[in-house]
Amino acid sequence: MTGPIAEAEKLLLLKASGLMLLVVVPVILMALAFAWRYRATNDRAAYSPDWDRSRVVEITVWGIPAIMVGLLATMVWDKTHALDPYKPLPGGEPLLVQAVALNWKWLFIYPDHGIATVNELAIPADRPVSFRVTSQVAMNSFIIPDLGGQIYAMAGMETQLNLQANEPGKMQGRNMQFSGTGFPQQTFDVLAMTEADFDGWIERVRASDQALDDRSFAEISQPSIAAPVTYFASAPQGFFAGLLAGSADMPHAADTTAEGAGN
């Protein structure tokens, strides 16, 4: 299981590693070779106790790392922009999912479908997904390792992450930032599906007898470890914006919620 972001990140990792190994491996070999060649017991090796400068060596030792870093820097500039987590992915209208970190579980709200789930994230394969992430508790970090990317979840603030799965399959996402006792088990299933299966999944969630409202939200906000998957057939419009506004009296948090704080 993978996706375009994860593939690009992996390729970048391999490229950058390969480039650096061109210097790292020779350095290790030089360290070992010089140590052996110039060991004190080796009388045949040259000995120049006062040789401490050489213009050629100086230019080389400043030059090689500088060229290397120059190459890497252009790579960084390009790829940081290309793989910016906030940048929408090409390939049509993304699916919008709002993710809320709770102790120690994840709430996912699908505003376009008016549904929500706990600890299960279904996405259509081959279609961009755009996450809006926040936390109602301590700082969390949202990641789906197979798809790449990672973004902090902070109370009163919204961060964004854009991902895509290449093909249908099951993966695991989790919180990467230690946040207390339930942290190790704070995972969720990620189900990438065909569009048809995804529509079927939406219908299954809608068939649930539970609704996301202040009362059920208070219930799932109670700290719990390895909480079971829960479906909410409905989620009020603006619920996520309300969480952003409600968890902090910060002026800037209020600003971001001006349009949708309607519950």
Binding site: I28, D52, M139
Partner: protein, 653 residues
């Protein structure tokens, strides 16, 4: 807050005892037994007077340096116990196995990091600077000897708070970085985070004073002819490190004080509500935290420079390059802090610029590695233990540098941040990079401090255990980090990780043997000290000034201060057969008198910390008053120096 707070004991009650887990109880008992055992041995040997007047109240930079290193070695053991417990837990913890409850595991990873950075690495590097720098620049002492003692005792007070937390109450569960809002009262009530805050705060003030002391010492106390470009490389790195301390540590003091206000007084700097903003904590913490990495590692680079030149019997290659590279690193270290939180949602321009700035540091660092390599080139290399540690460093450090550059590439960081890949990276910098340097420095300068060398065979064994142990313990963490394993996992469900974690535990066992070897080395060397005392004044065919005085040096270091005109002045003197010229002694030497100001202020700092942690307000007030009265009383002391009469054993060679 609803808990009962008694005016006498604050929130301290019988439930503060570690009865929640047998492992914690055992740790507490070992700590108490260790403390009592130490008191018993000192009493048994009748050494209290010697301990008090020779060490505790001493303001001699060499003795303070040695005390720093003793503290560091004790805390190394304490921090290592945490480490191997974590490794064992993770080796077993597949599907909820293991022997540690989550709450205990969380305290252990928090105390491990806190101890290793603040109470192992910092005291170790400060101790080496204390011991060697005044000797290397031909000074009689540091610029402010009493302040030096205060610095040490504040550091010891912080370490004391961490040790006490093992017995009374609990330690933080918020990691060594103490990120809010998790470290706020909302998520971590109780005393744990307060112990972390006050240990860091109290010792951090000591570190700031050390930085001031060494900047002034190096700039003002150099002997005649010791121009900046004649200074040994270690002194240069100590200067850069001290400048970094002066600029960086206030940020740590401020950020921990703000967190303390949030927790104790109810302010809202970093809380989720009331207008707090956690991002300010991350920024302030890492504005200290990134320079801190270089505060720790630059002096280690200095030691490697001394060691590689001495044991290659050759001039240090590219000295001016190394000086400039060190300065460049010091300046750049303040421009990269944001790379610790690329995943916080900053824009692509910001992330890219901080990523590139981080990589730029690889340039001067690469220059240093090449300069060490070319110092060995056409040398005559002796494989004494300090040189082994230096070679091990060169081979491993470049790997850590490479993983560091990978982490500095923001898109790669998005995938690897908070994984064990990151854990492997910073241990790769701090163990081979910093700690190997400190151990090399400890073995290198030990004969100068005590007049006999450390046993060579056990030193070599220690190196091979540390070297192989490091590889086994941390290379697997790179692998499972790339597989997505988060740091700080008390248990996990992915069977692919377990074999790697078992290998990592075996690596930790080898490192344990490395630490045991260091202990045996010390034991064997003290036993054979007469044999090992041969040529102790200059056991390594040294090049720099400190090897020209006796081992151990007199309290005033040099009876007649040397006049230098070249770098490697002692080597030149041996080469030409002419001793280093000295300034004739025209008056008697004045050495600062012992004083209890340092230990009293350290004790007072401990009381302030302990008092605030437990809401024992009278104790905190008494501690503060004690600091104030001690400083005022000291300012009236006129007779602070005694005359010394160099006689027997001044040992000018």
């Amino acid at each position: 807050m609803t808990e009962d707070i008694s005016p006498l004991l604050g929130r301290l009650g019988p439930d503060a005892l570690p009865l929640y887990s047998w492992v914690a109880m055992g740790g507490a008992m070992v700590t108490v037994a260790g403390g009592l055992g130490f008191l018993a041995i000192v009493t048994w040997l009748g050494k209290w007077r010697e301990l008090w007047s020779g060490w505790i109240t001493s303001v001699d930079h060499k003795r303070i340096g040695i005390m720093y290193i003793v503290l560091a070695l004790i805390m190394l053991i304490r921090g290592f116990v945490d480490a191997i417990m974590m490794r064992l837990q993770q080796a077993l913890a597949m599907d909820g196995g293991g022997y540690l409850p989550p709450e205990h595991f969380e305290q252990i990873f928090s105390s491990h990091g806190t101890i290793m950075i603040f109470f192992m690495a910092m005291p170790f590097v400060t101790g080496l600077m204390n011991f060697a720098v005044p000797l290397q620049i031909g000074a009689r002492d540091v610029a402010f000897p009493v302040m030096n003692s205060i610095s040490f005792w504040l550091t010891a007070a912080g370490a004391g708070l961490v040790l006490v937390s093992l017995v009374i109450g609990k330690f933080s569960t918020a990691g060594w970085t103490g990120y809010p809002p998790y470290s706020g009262v909302q998520f971590t009530p109780g005393v744990g985070v307060d112990y972390w805050i006050w240990a860091v705060l109290v010792s951090g003030v000591g570190s700031t004073l050390t930085g001031i002391n060494f900047v002034v010492t190096i700039l003002r106390k150099r002997t005649t002819g010791m121009t900046l470009m004649h200074m040994p490389m270690f002194t240069w790195t100590a200067l850069c490190s001290s400048i970094l301390i002066v600029f960086a540590f206030p940020a740590l003091t401020v950020v921990t004080a703000m967190l303390a206000l949030d927790r104790t007084v109810g302010t809202h700097f970093f809380t989720n509500d009331g207008g707090g903003n956690v991002m300010n904590f991350m920024n302030l913490f890492w504005i200290w935290g990134h320079p801190e990495v270089y505060i720790l590692i630059l002096p280690a680079f200095g030691i490697f420079s001394e060691v590689v030149a001495t044991f290659s019997s050759k001039r240090l290659f590219g000295y001016p390059s190394l000086v400039y590279a060190t300065m460049v690193i010091a300046v750049l270290s303040f421009t990269v802090w944001l790379h610790h939180f690329f995943t916080m949602g900053a824009g692509a321009n910001v992330n890219a610029i901080f990523g590139i700035a981080t990589m730029v540091i690889a340039v001067p660092t690469g220059v240093k590695v090449f300069d060490w390599l070319f110092t060995m080139y056409r040398g005559r290399i002796r494989f004494e233990p300090p040189m082994l540690f230096t070679l091990g460093f060169m081979c491993l450090f470049v790997v850590g540098g490479m993983s560091g550059v990978l982490l500095a590439i923001p898109p790669i960081n998005y995938a690897t941040h908070n994984t064990t890949f990151l854990v492997a990276h910073f241990h790769n910098m701090i163990i081979p990079g910093a700690l190997f340097g400190y151990v090399a420095g400890y073995m290198y300068w030990f004969p100068k401090a005590f007049g006999f060398r450390l046993d060579r065979n056990w030193g070599a064994r220690a190196f091979w255990f540390w070297f192989t142990g490091f590889i086994l313990a941390f290379m697997p963490l790179y692998v499972i980090g790339l597989m997505g394993m988060p740091r700080r996992m008390e248990s996990y469900a992915n069977p692919d990780w377990q074999p790697w974690l078992i290998i990592a535990f075996l690596g930790a066992c080898l490192i344990l043997l490395g630490i045991v070897s260091l202990g045996i080395q010390l034991w064997v060397s003290v036993r054979d000290r007469v044999r090992l005392a041969a040529e102790a004044d200059d056991p390594w065919d040294g090049r720099t000034l400190e090897w020209s005085t006796s081992s151990p040096p007199p309290a005033w270091n040099y009876t007649e201060l040397p006049i230098v005109s070249v770098r490697d002045s002692f080597h030149e003197a041996k080469l030409t057969g002419k001793p280093i010229p000295t300034a004739p002694l025209t008056a008697s030497i004045h050495v600062p008198r012992n004083t209890a100001v340092g230990p009293v202020i350290g004790f007072a700092g401990f009381c302030v910390g302990f008092g605030v942690i437990w809401f024992i307000w009278w104790l905190a007030a008494v501690g503060l008053a004690l600091v104030a009265t001690t400083l005022i009383a000291r300012s009236f002391a006129d007779d602070t120096e005694s005359e010394a009469f160099p006689g027997r054993g001044t040992g000018i060679s």
